[in-house]
Amino acid sequence: MTNIFFVLSVVTGFGALAWGYGTQGHSEYVRWFFLLGAVWLLGKWRGWKWFSPLALLIVIGSAAYGLWIEISFGWMMFAAVGGLLAWDLADFSQRLSYAAPSDDVAGMERRHLARVGIVAVLGGLLGLIAFVVRIRLPFEVVVGLVILAVLGLTRLITTLRKD
């Protein structure tokens, strides 16, 4: 079941990217997205654990770049959510491979897919709402947010160094 959803997620992620880029006249990227999607599927089959994070990075980066070059937000959000799902399911599938034959794998798959499905739907909806509902932020609030982001980043780097 996880594998089917993984394939669907990869198709959604890279398909949305390809569609978004293609419809805006950037057809030179489309074949690369199809190729990367195929490599991700192949990588999963061949057990390349390192490829999933790279693929997620590519999907999110491409979505962000797509937004920068004014490609439709809906497709980019769709791509980001698809990439996130595929990355999660690839990791989950790898964790499931450690399960003993007697473990309740089907139950765990069901619960995981339900949870990640809720996250994806809610995330996508929130993103769309945030895009539609536009609020003008005063300069001080933006500065405050930047400071908060920098503090968060510092915390993250500290954690990374500890690890």
Binding site: P53, L56, L57, I60, A63, A64, L67, W68, F73, M76, M77, A80, V81, L84, D88, D91, F92, R95, L96, Y98, A99, A100, P101, S102, D103, D104, V105, G107, M108, R111, H112, R115, V116, I118, V119, A120, L122, G123, G124, L126, G127, L128, A130, F131, R134, V142, L145, V146, A149, G152, L153, L156, T159, L160, D163
Partner: protein, 428 residues
């Protein structure tokens, strides 16, 4: 949690990019990622409170017998969405069936049991800790715990039942056994004739001797049979056991030592074991089944090794062995071992050397060439000379060609006392 840090990093980069460029759509793109992380942290597992129980089907087994390990884990803490359990196998053991890992959802108070089977070569294996890693379903936040679940498994060497191993130590112990004690008394073997004394059973009267003397009666005396002290020395030196391409005679030596120890203990003797390798491992002499277990455990753990100190047999600590007792050395032998063995003999020990034949062993995996055959002939002659010198010094030698079963060789060579040993043993 590498994946959480990775996702956080992407989220931060997007956030910073959105804030720096004042693009709301970039910030909106972060929302699924933030939600993913938030969901994970919300369902992060609490402090782990797990109890672990390990059951090993057999604590002692023999080679190539699969042993089932059953692990039961009980959750005394809060519900755990995903609990990954990873049991570490002691090095040397191989997984026969099942899995050492398990992935479960464990509710509060619930238990999970899983089994796997292992097998492995001879050895003593200690099971240690089990890694328990609990995460939420998204594996964003996790907690790890190492649970102590001790267990021991001994895989004993092959023990061949030996019918009879005849030894003649110069001194025996006081308890009745199988070994002629060179003293008159109750027994089976004829020992001598002495003057009849009151209380002797009439059937012990030697009528033929008595007929020659008018006034006196003579009675037959039998040899007492007692138990003896036996020290088995297992030679684990690399220089005698290891050959090219990783071939080793040590397993054969261990098998011989185990079989001999079993046979001597079964005869009621007091047996000790010394493993002479990178260090000395001495199992104090004792009787019975408990001692058999101790010796087999020592043999299970025995490993060949090299040490400058124990390079030669001259460092065998003779003080460990009772005076005039029987020493059984299990060693392929080399030319330097002649004088230490003669010295042992000079100290009054009765020495039996069981020598797995290294020449035929090495020849079995060498190519059949003229040069090899010639070299083998030379080495065989050298070895025959060494063994003959040992026999001349009063050391009993069992040259074991490992292509023949050990019990058959022992049956042929050690089931009766050789004539030369009867001479040496009784005269000295």
């Amino acid at each position: 949690m590498q994946r959480t840090l990775f996702l956080s990093l992407i989220t931060y980069v997007l956030l910073l990019a959105g804030l720096a460029t004042l693009r709301g759509d970039l910030l909106a793109l972060c929302l699924p990622l933030i939600l993913y992380l938030a969901f994970g942290y919300l369902r992060a597992p609490e402090e782990l409170d797990l109890e672990m129980d390990r059951r090993i089907e057999l604590e002692r087994t023999v080679l190539n017998t699969p042993v089932t390990i059953t692990l039961t884990i009980t959750n005394h803490g809060a519900d755990l969405e995903e609990l990954f359990l990873d049991d570490t196998l002691p090095s040397g053991l191989t997984l026969h069936s099942g899995s050492t890992c398990s992935l479960v959802t464990l509710a509060m108070g619930a238990s999970h049991t899983w089994t796997y089977t292992v097998s492995g070569p001879r050895g003593g294996y200690t099971f240690g800790t089990l890694k328990a890693q609990a995460t939420d379903h998204l594996a964003v936040a996790g907690r790890e715990l190492r649970l102590e679940a001790q267990g021991q498994l001994f895989i004993y060497p092959l023990v061949t039942r030996l019918r009879q191993v005849v030894i003649r130590p110069r001194r025996t112990r006081v308890y009745a056994g199988n070994i002629p004690a060179r003293a008159g008394g109750p027994g089976i073997e004829f020992f001598g004739v002495r003057a009849y004394s009151v209380g002797d059973p009439p059937r012990s009267i030697n009528w033929r001797a008595s007929a020659r003397h008018v006034d006196e009666l003579y009675a037959n005396e039998f040899q007492q049979e007692r138990v003896a002290d036996v020290a088995i020395v297992l030679d684990g030196r690399w220089r005698t056991n290891e050959f090219s391409h990783g071939h080793s005679l040590f397993e054969y030596s261990v098998q011989a030592a185990a079989s001999l120890a079993d046979a001597f203990l079964a005869q009621g003797n007091r047996v000790g074991m010394l493993v002479y390798s990178i260090y000395l491992n001495w199992v104090l002499p004792a009787y019975g089944k408990v001692q058999r277990e101790k010796i087999l455990q020592a043999l299970a753990r025995a490993r060949p090794g090299g040490s400058d100190v124990f390079a030669g047999l001259q460092h065998i600590p003779t003080r460990l062995f009772p005076p005039h007792s029987q020493i059984v050395l299990v060693s392929p032998l080399n030319e330097d071992d002649l004088s230490p063995l003669i010295q042992l003999r000079a100290h009054g020990y009765q020495v039996l050397t069981v020598a797995p034949d290294p020449v035929s062993f090495e020849l079995s995996f060498l190519p059949k060439q003229k040069e090899v055959d010639l070299a083998a002939r030379v080495v065989r002659m050298e070895r025959a000379l060494l063994l003959r010198k040992l026999q001349r010094a009063g050391v009993q030698v069992l040259d074991w060609d490992i292509t023949h079963p050990f019990d058959q060789v022992v049956q042929r060579e050690l089931s009766r006392v050789p004539v030369w040993l009867q001479m040496h043993g009784s005269l000295k």
